[in-house]
Assembly symmetry: C2
Homo-oligomer: 201 residues x 2
């Protein structure tokens, strides 16, 4: 374990989220013993990503170009703006096939305990984006957790003060809370059933 290059590699791997000393050791041994090509490829991918990946000017998601593919797509509905926490959430919405509007990616959620406030989430940029004169409805597709709820509350307060294209306030909605598709009622948690009852249609 005295190898300095090996020790440096283990130390660097520990900066990955969810990776402790043991996992970092295991990763380093695996790469050096069985997959040096994978290690080289990872080194190149990291360097390339750090150099080339920036944030999209309009929606803040990761992008190689100033404008991401979704924002640059003229076929997307400019009247709807969906606010998500991460690019992974955006990808999940895209895979659902139920949304054809545009996005704004917060890259996080309000979390006072972790020191993440409205400035870190680029709320000012979201306000400018929502007030572009084309957006009529903002859909808050945030997590149904305590932090997601707080974020949704703060954002909807601010967004309702913005005027839409026809001079009326923006419509601000949130994803429906209810029983997941394919689930049997018996096994659904009580809070979800209570919400599904209130929002019945």
């Amino acid at each position: 374990m005295a190898t300095s290059h090996l020790a440096t590699l283990i130390e660097a791997l520990r900066r990955l989220p969810g990776v402790g000393v043991k996992s970092a050791q295991r990763m380093a041994f695996h790469l050096l013993q069985h997959d040096r090509e994978g290690a080289s490829r990872l080194a190149q991918a990291l360097a390339a990503a750090v150099e080339h990946v920036r944030h999209c000017e309009r929606c803040h998601t990761f992008s190689d170009t100033p404008l991401c593919d979704t924002c640059a797509d003229p076929s997307r509905d400019a009247r709807q703006l969906c606010v998500v926490e991460t690019p992974a959430d955006q990808a999940a919405l895209e895979r659902s096939g139920g949304y054809k509007g545009q996005y704004f990616v917060l890259m996080g959620r309000l979390s006072p305990l972790d020191g993440i406030g409205t400035r870190d989430l680029g709320v000012q940029a979201l306000m400018r984006r929502a007030g572009d004169g084309q957006v009529q409805e903002v859909i808050l597709a945030l997590s149904f957790t305590a932090e997601g709820d707080v974020t949704a509350h703060v954002l909807s307060q601010a967004l309702r003060a913005i005027q839409g294209p026809d001079g009326t306030p923006l419509q601000v909605t949130r994803l429906a809370r209810g029983v997941p598709a394919g689930s049997e009622l018996e096994y659904v948690d009580l809070s979800t059933i209570a919400h599904a009852l209130v929002d019945r249609r």
Copy 2:
């Protein structure tokens, strides 16, 4: 998620052991959003390790130099050779402070199901190392698992055929199996108690 550099990075991170799609996404987002310096450092550490880390000529552990620090240390007892599976196992033995001899690192263990045979473990090199005319005792510090037991059995068979410095066969020993330090007997598993009974002293 359309970013090609981001997709490449996620794909490269998935080659790490124990990392699936979700973890790889989380790692990539974390590095790009919060720790680009860590990403650059990891890229450099990987490239440097791939380029400089080789195997020690004598004990096969990872080393920047042809001979690792332990093998190059003249104060280590050349009469004892400890066989371990990984550099992490070697580090654990070193930390115990109870061993001052030399090492041979197998970099794995026999595992026919995974296609790992005696050739992959460098058993020939171990035989040459053990028969250098100085080694009197080989300590097999292998795991007490099915694969570790098989490895120990195969190695001890082969090692007993080698002559030590005084013309007698090498002494081949294995770590003691017994009750761990600090444990209450009530909570120790039955197989361990049975072994501790047989090996009582």
